[in-house]
């Protein structure tokens, strides 16, 4: 899937079983969260489902291709590269444990559910919305785009943001970042007729 190097603990079989001792479990939980965050950052995974598959990954423009390739995996019922399955040591994490990890991540603001009802997948905040916001603001200022109207597409796909960390950012995550800027009174969102966010003016 990528050049991401899993930490050593990933090849440690007990890591894939929920530890009965509460303290050990907390440490294990934290390790899992760190692993998920660093893995998603390295692969730019925006959405992770509870099978450990990246439902949305990399540059969002190539989304269609990645989804089709992933859906095949889903049909098989067995993920090839799911993060919660380690074929090398023949271990997999139980769905219930995964859900607990997700719950903790949502609590920590490391992730948020796609919808309130659907808790099978989460958006991963491998950067916090505040961090994304700072990156975007810095980019706006360094490229002299203060006060101009930008479309969401321009921020995530424009030529000017080509080498930026947020190039190809998922629109939903971009929205959370922009909302941070709105709260700081640094941005104003523009909506289209359907009430969807179409553009943003950042000062």
């Amino acid at each position: 899937m990528s050049q991401y190097k899993f930490p050593q603990i990933y090849n440690f079989p007990p890591f894939f079983t929920k530890q009965p001792n509460e303290q050990t479990w907390q440490a294990q939980l934290n390790n899992w969260i760190q692993l998920i965050l660093s893995y998603c950052k390295a692969n730019k995974v925006w959405i992770l489902n509870n099978k450990g598959e990246a439902l949305s990954q990399g540059n969002i423009e190539d989304l269609e291709e990645s989804i089709t390739s992933l859906s095949i995996n889903q049909d098989d019922g067995i993920s090839k590269d799911g993060i919660f399955v380690n074929n090398k040591i023949q271990r997999r994490l139980e769905p219930q444990v995964i859900n607990e990890i997700f719950q903790q991540m949502v609590k920590n603001n490391d992730a948020f559910y796609i919808t309130k009802k659907d808790q099978s997948s989460v958006f991963i905040n491998f950067y916090r919305p505040e961090d994304w916001a700072s990156m975007i603001l810095e980019w706006i200022e360094s490229t002299g785009q203060n006060g101009t109207v930008l479309t969401m597409y321009e921020i995530s796909q424009g030529d000017l943001s080509l080498n930026k960390e947020f190039h190809g950012i998922h629109p939903v995550i971009l929205e959370t970042a922009l909302n941070v800027l709105v709260k700081r009174s640094r941005a104003q969102l523009l909506k289209d007729e359907d009430g969807k966010i179409a553009g943003v003016k950042i000062v």
Binding site: T148, V149, Y153, E154, S185, A187, Q188, L190, K201
Partner: protein, 223 residues
């Protein structure tokens, strides 16, 4: 969303630019989709040809050609929109520039009104007068500090010193004539002890005086 008063305001121009930009984005997306489609279709054509299915290959090729045609149109349209956006943005900058110029002009006018020419002229005359007075005062001050009486005294003293020096020189020339006589007298005087003591005392007095002078000099320097 953005209920706070300090948040950036959206103007009509912003909305217009956004509309244009959204159109551009749509075209860009369409461009991407078309290139993808063309890629897929060329692959299909190759697959058909390898099977020997020439007729379907031809049909697909027709579609591809049509797509390519559209794609070129789209590219041109994107270029147009980009130009449009650039023009609008530049016009906005020009507007700001004009506003800046206007503001500057108004300020200049106000400042010029505050400074009437007559006022400036009288002011300049005043300043000139004052400068002249200042110069006069300067002269008076520099004169009175080194008072004239004082200078006269200095001149007198200098003349006196010069006279004395002149006199001494005259005496010396006389003395040189008398020296032979004097020597004789000195020799006669030498044996007497009393007189020697007198001379010694004189010398000591001179010696005493000298250090005092040095000290005075030093204090002067220190001061």
């Amino acid at each position: 969303m953005g209920n706070t008063t300090s948040s950036p305001k959206i103007t009509a121009q912003d909305k217009a630019i956004l509309q244009v930009k959204l159109q551009k984005d749509k075209l860009l997306k369409y461009q991407k989709k078309s290139t993808l489609l063309i890629k897929n279709e060329t692959n299909q054509i190759k697959a058909c040809l390898s099977k020997g299915d020439k007729t379907s290959a031809k049909i697909i090729l027709k579609r591809t050609k049509y797509q390519e045609n559209l794609l070129e149109n789209v590219s041109n349209q994107i270029l147009n929109l980009e130009n449009m956006i650039q023009n609008i943005e530049f016009k906005l900058i020009e507007q700001d520039f004009l506003k800046g110029l206007q503001n500057g002009n108004e300020i200049l006018k106000k400042l010029n009104n505050e400074m009437k020419l007559d006022q400036v002229e009288t002011l300049m005359d005043d300043v000139n007068e004052n400068i002249q007075i200042q110069e006069e005062i300067d002269q008076v001050l520099s004169n009175s500090i080194v008072g004239k009486d004082y200078e006269d005294e200095i001149d007198e003293e200098l003349a006196m010193l010069e006279k004395e020096e002149f006199m001494k020189q005259g005496k010396q020339s006389e003395q040189s004539g008398q020296q032979s006589k004097d020597n004789n007298e000195l020799i006669e005087k030498l044996p007497s002890v009393d007189k020697l003591q007198d001379i010694k005392q004189d010398e000591e007095e001179e010696k005493d005086e000298e250090p005092v002078k040095v000290k005075q000099k030093k204090t002067a320097l220190l001061a």
